[in-house]
Point group: none
Chain length 416, copies 2
C-alpha cells in the first residue's frame, strides 16, 4: 500500500497568564489540535505564553518558522492584559483601521444580551490592516486572520469552540492530506485485556495510528489513517479496522461521536420506549447526561433524585421496611427505586442507582464504592452490583456510566 | 513598600503524540505550573511536542535558554515511542550507566502489583550519566534529573502528580521567593463591570498579579503576591486585597477553594434548612452539583427531574392550566415547580429551573437561552428571568449555576 502523502503543518499558541500559573487547564489547545488534524494538518508544536507582548510575538514567530499555519487563542478581550491583537499587529508590522461593520456586530451582540455596551468595546472595531475580522456569534471579541497564515481566536472556550466549527473552516483550507478516523467505545474490559485480544494489533499499526484512551469504566480505541484522497484514507482505515474489530466486538457499545447516553437514546427511540430514572448517589448525574442529548424529550420523561430516604419512600414508593431491613444501599432498594420511577412517572423503563460514594459513610459490609444499579420494565427488574474504586467524584462518575452501560446491554439484547 | 524580589524562572515541556492530536487534554502542564508557582518560580513558557527525538531536543533546549529550570513530562515509558530519555541524553551529550538500585526498585514495583516484570523494563535502569534517577512509587518508570536543571517525569497523570508532590521538592529548590494567594469568586457582574468598580485596581496591581477568570455566569478574581518571606508575601496580599475587595464585596459569594454548591451548602447548614430541587432544562445538573459535596445529605433531600410536562403535573403538582396558558418555560411554571418541589419533598426551600436549552425548540417569544429560575419558601416565591447565550451545554451549565447563585443571594440576605 502506498505511503500516505506529507501533510501541511500547523502550530498552536495559547495566550494567558492563567495558563502560566496553572489556574486554567488548556482545553482550547486540544480542541484546536482536533480541528487541525481533521483538516489534514500535522501539528508540529503547541506552546503557551503569558500576557506580554514580547513573549506573544516570540512564540508566534517561532511557530510560524516551523508551521504553515498558526492558530492563536486568548488575549483578544478588551482589557489591558489582552495583548494578542497588539502583539500580532507589531509582528506583522501594520497599523489598524476602524471597521464599522465590526462595531455594528459588537453592538448587536450586547443588544441581544439585553445589556448596554461598555465603551471600551469600541476598541474591537480597530482591525489591524494585515488582518481580516472573523465573526464571533457567541461573544463580543472578533477573531483575526493575518496574512492567510495566523488565525487568532478569543480564549473563552465556548466562543472559541463555536468559531472553530463555524468560522475557522472559511479561513483554514484543507492541509493537503485527508484523514480518516474511527473510534470504538468499549466497556467491560481494560486496556491491557483489549490489547491482548487484538492479535493483529501490530499489523494494524502499520496502517493506522491506534490510541487507547481509558475513562470511567470504559476504554476508547481510536484509529487514524492518512491518505492523498479521502478514498485512500478510508481504504487504509477499513483494512486496519478489519484487523482489530472482530476480536473486540462484544465489548463495543458505540462508535465515533456516540456517547453512552446517545447510544441508549437511539435504542429507546428505535424501540419507542420511554425512560425514567431514580438517582441516589449520583444525585442527578444520569439525568444530566441523558438530557445533554438534543431531542431526549422524545424518550426521557424525567426522574426522582431520591437522596434522602424519606424521598425514596414518598416519591418512589420504596417501603420503609425495605430500607430498614436491607438499607438504602442494597439490591432490594435499587429494585424498588427502579420500579417506583417507572410506575410513578409512567415510563416503560425505570433506571435506578444507589451506592456509597464516600469519602465517609462506608462500613465493613457496605464499603465506599459499593453501588447497585437496577433496570425495571413491565413485569421484571434486573440488578447489577458493583465495587468501584477511587474518589467520590470517580465513584459517582463511574456509577452513572455503569448504570447507562447496564441499560444499554439490556436494550441491545432486546433489539437483536 | 519594598519591591518583591525577582523570582527564578521555570519552563514546562510536555511530550506525547496524544497531545499533538488533541486526544488528551494536557492536565499535567497545569499541575506542574501550580507546583512551580507555589515554589516561587515564575513560569515563562509551556510547550508540547510529539514523540520525536529532534523535536524534544529542540523544545527542551529552547526552554533552557529562557528559564532557570525546566520540567518535562511524558515519553519515559518502555515502548518504542518513549523517547524523552534518549533525547535528553543527546541534549546533555552523555552516555548511560546501569544502576542496580533502579532495577531493584522496578522489580519491587512489579512484585507489589503481583505481576511478572516484562524484560523490556530492565531498560529503566540505564540512567544517563548526566542525570540522577528520581523514584516513582506509583509506577515503573523512574524520573530523571539532569545537571540540576531539567527534571523529567513520567506522563501518566497519577504517577506524575505523586512525584510532583513527594519527589520533585527534593530536586527543585525554592525559587528564591515565597508566594501568597487569594481568590474571590463573584457573580452578577462581568469582568469589565468588576474592573470598573475597582478604582484602585492599578494600585493593587503594583502589589499583586491579578487575574480575572470568567466561567458560566461567574468571574473569579485571583490575587498572587511574592515576597522574600511568607510574612512579606502575606503582607503584600493583605494590602492588595484591601484595595480591591471593598468595591466588589456585594458580588463575592466565596473565596479560595469554595464552590457555589459548597457556599450554598454552608448557608443551608448554618440556617438548618433543607432544600429540594425541580429541574427541567438542566435535567439533574443542579442536584448533581449539590451532591458532589460530601455531607450534602445534611441539607439536600433530593428533587424531581421534570423533563416531560406530565411529570411536572404528576410529580410536582404544576397545574395543566399553568402549562397550557403560560407554557412550560414561564415565570408561572417555574414558580409552581419550586413550590411543588418544596411541598412534595417536605423541604424548607424549593429551587426550580425551566428553560429552552436549544438548539431547537426556540420561538420568537421564547428563544433559545430563555431560562427562569425560582426559589420557594414558606409563604413566598421569587423568580429570576435570564437570557443566556451559547450552545446547549453552555446554556445548561449556566442555568444550573445561575439557579445556585440566585438561591445563594437569597440565603445570604437572610443570614446577614
Amino acid at each position: 500500500m502506498k505511503q500516505a502523502p506529507h501533510p501541511k503543518t500547523a502550530a498552536i499558541v495559547t495566550v494567558g497568564d492563567e495558563l502560566m500559573t496553572g489556574l486554567v487547564v488548556d482545553t482550547n489547545a486540544a480542541a484546536i489540535a482536533r480541528f487541525l488534524l481533521r483538516r489534514g494538518y500535522r501539528i508540529v508544536g503547541k506552546s503557551s505564553v503569558g500576557d506580554a507582548v514580547p513573549a506573544i510575538i516570540a512564540s508566534v514567530r517561532a511557530a510560524m518558522r516551523r508551521a504553515d499555519i498558526v492558530v492563536v487563542t486568548g488575549g483578544l478581550g478588551p482589557t489591558h492584559d489582552d495583548l494578542t491583537k497588539e502583539a500580532l499587529r507589531r509582528l506583522f508590522k501594520c497599523g489598524a483601521k476602524f471597521d464599522p461593520a465590526v462595531l455594528r456586530h459588537v453592538q448587536s451582540f450586547f443588544k441581544r444580551m439585553g445589556k448596554p455596551m461598555p465603551s471600551i468595546n469600541r476598541e474591537y472595531a480597530n482591525i489591524p490592516t494585515a488582518a481580516v475580522a472573523v465573526r464571533n456569534r457567541m461573544g463580543a471579541a472578533p477573531g483575526l486572520f493575518f496574512n492567510k497564515r495566523v488565525l487568532a481566536l478569543p480564549g473563552v472556550p465556548h466562543e472559541m469552540l463555536y468559531m472553530l466549527e463555524h468560522e475557522a473552516p472559511k479561513f483554514i483550507h484543507r492541509g493537503g492530506v485527508t484523514i480518516a478516523e474511527k473510534t470504538f467505545h468499549t466497556a467491560g474490559l481494560g486496556e491491557v485485556g483489549l490489547m491482548r485480544r487484538m492479535t493483529k494489533l501490530d499489523e494494524a499499526r502499520q496502517l493506522a495510528d491506534i490510541a487507547f484512551l481509558p475513562g470511567y469504566g470504559r476504554v476508547d480505541i481510536r484509529l487514524l489513517t492518512r491518505g492523498a484522497t479521502p478514498a485512500a484514507a478510508r481504504a487504509r482505515l477499513k483494512k486496519a479496522e478489519k484487523l482489530i474489530s472482530p476480536s473486540i466486538l462484544e465489548y463495543v457499545w458505540g462508535v465515533d461521536d456516540e456517547t453512552i447516553e446517545s447510544a441508549v437514546g437511539k435504542l429507546l427511540g428505535q424501540q419507542r420506549k420511554t425512560l425514567a430514572v431514580a438517582e441516589s448517589c449520583t444525585g442527578g448525574g444520569i439525568g444530566e447526561k441523558i438530557t445533554a442529548i438534543p431531542g431526549s424529550s422524545n424518550y426521557f420523561l424525567g426522574g426522582v433524585i431520591s437522596y434522602a430516604n424519606k424521598v425514596k419512600e414518598k416519591m418512589l414508593g420504596v417501603s420503609a421496611a425495605t430500607i430498614k431491613n436491607h438499607g438504602a444501599v442494597s439490591r432490594e432498594c435499587a429494585e424498588a427505586m427502579a420500579k417506583g420511577a417507572r410506575a410513578r412517572l409512567g415510563a416503560d423503563y425505570g433506571l435506578a442507582v444507589t451506592g456509597v460514594a464516600g469519602p465517609g459513610g462506608g462500613t465493613k459490609e457496605k464499603p465506599v464504592g459499593l453501588v447497585f444499579v437496577a433496570v425495571a420494565a413491565l413485569g421484571w427488574v434486573q440488578v447489577r452490583r458493583l465495587n468501584l474504586a477511587g474518589s467520590r467524584a470517580t465513584i459517582r462518575g463511574r456509577a452513572a456510566n455503569e448504570a447507562l452501560f447496564f441499560l444499554r446491554d439490556i436494550l441491545a439484547a432486546r433489539n437483536g
